[in-house]
Symmetry: C2
Subunit: 269 residues, 2 copies
Amino acid sequence: MKIDPNSPADLSAQIANAIRDAIVDGTLIVDERLPSESELADHFEVSRPTVREALKRLAAQSLIRTQRGASGGAFVNRLSYTDAYSQQVTTSTLLLSMNAVSFETACEARYAMERACAPLSARRRSADHLATMRTEIHRQSQPGLTDEAFCASDVAFHRALVDGAGNPVLSYQLAGAVEAMQPLMNMITFTARSREAIVALHTTIAEAIETRDEDASIAALSALETETLGLARRVFAARSAGTPAASHPDDGESHAPEPRFKPRKTTSI
Amino acid sequence: MKIDPNSPADLSAQIANAIRDAIVDGTLIVDERLPSESELADHFEVSRPTVREALKRLAAQSLIRTQRGASGGAFVNRLSYTDAYSQQVTTSTLLLSMNAVSFETACEARYAMERACAPLSARRRSADHLATMRTEIHRQSQPGLTDEAFCASDVAFHRALVDGAGNPVLSYQLAGAVEAMQPLMNMITFTARSREAIVALHTTIAEAIETRDEDASIAALSALETETLGLARRVFAARSAGTPAASHPDDGESHAPEPRFKPRKTTSI
DNA sequence: CACTTTTCATTTGTCTGACATTTAAAAGTC
DNA sequence: GACTTTTAAATGTCAGACAAATGAAAAGTG
């Protein structure tokens, strides 16, 4: 592991890259302890604060974890599905919110990927997955539900559908597509009628998954995509036409001219 | 933006979370300049090194960029597709390499997602995408190609297929699935016969995309999945049976008992 | 000897203060 | 006015120090 002190790049970035590469290529293996900060500082011939900045960069990506105390130090972290999942969601959420990705584009990507899961889910779903889907459908039928709670339940329903495929890699990949859509969905107001349509389609999907009907599950997802897209178009058209009749009461503090993007609660760095 | 000095968590982590949340929820907007490190240190009532550690955490996630000099500072970064893409690839690669994900699982996830793209690509692909696919097929037919070059070309082919769908969100999501598989694919030795089969299937896919035959593109991808899976199984079975006949010459320095995982070259943190 | 308590060395977390380097803007010069 | 020089502000880096956590060894105790 070497760095170039004459490079224009920050020393801490170079050190972080060097250590990360060592992790990625297997020189440093999971749960192995890195040298102490002082030793790293000596090795790279930099000061300890510089080493620390490098370690914080790695910690931000869940590549290492640190522990204080006698036999403490920095350890190579096994990237769990949970860690990867939350990073994926954060990245996807930011990507969508910062790049003015159209609802159409995000929606299309999401449903294309869900359709990829559906047949697998139909084949493999457990009773648990099915029960979760039914529970969420029931929740979505409750009259007093807020729009945000409705969206949250929607995400839970789709997560169960995806998890039903029994492929953790697929679940992890889909996490971004499904959860990152939630802020966009939160911008939509769901009328009683539109909720009814969505619940009906969710029911169709659940039935297809229950009867292991792969084609029906795909068809129902396509129908749901069409429904969602149409709903979003109507809502946005109504707003841009200056009739924010059914819109949320604005908090007045937003500096964005567009309907506000409502982020999910975020997890720890 | 507040932090709790009595929390057990690191101050730098708390500060990073506070700033990240401000970015995610829109309090800090793209290209906005953060207060200087000294001002942030005053605001949070911590020292400048602590603030710097927090900023490095954010920089590692491409949430901010820093600039030196007079009117320099830390700026909220617009997360580009390129940034998101490379983070996605790194995370996926590590997830696969550190969690002993079976080839079957990764392969299934990848092809399921690609099948989701194929119909869209058949509908929308430009002549450019098709040309890239044809070029890569031709490259893959060259006899002198190393296994790694063959894999790289394979990735390029599939990228063109995915990009053909014309949905940047989909391309970004698929990046992880396709590229993170490359190290796994690199563990496989491709015999002339297996390359032939793969090239033939690639040709079938390209033809389906060219003639805008959605169903044929999906069928060809499924066939490719079967072929890849069978190939991998044969290779791994042969190795575990103690006949590493067609395996790579081992470098002897690997401490892993399994066939070594060959990572892609990584980009900057 | 077995067990508990204390001490202690190690390591990360944080602070202070300083200097180096970069960079854009202001000031000066022709 | 165009060019050069100076300057100030900001990040990047350094050195040394102390605080806090923590496990292990040492000391004490029955």
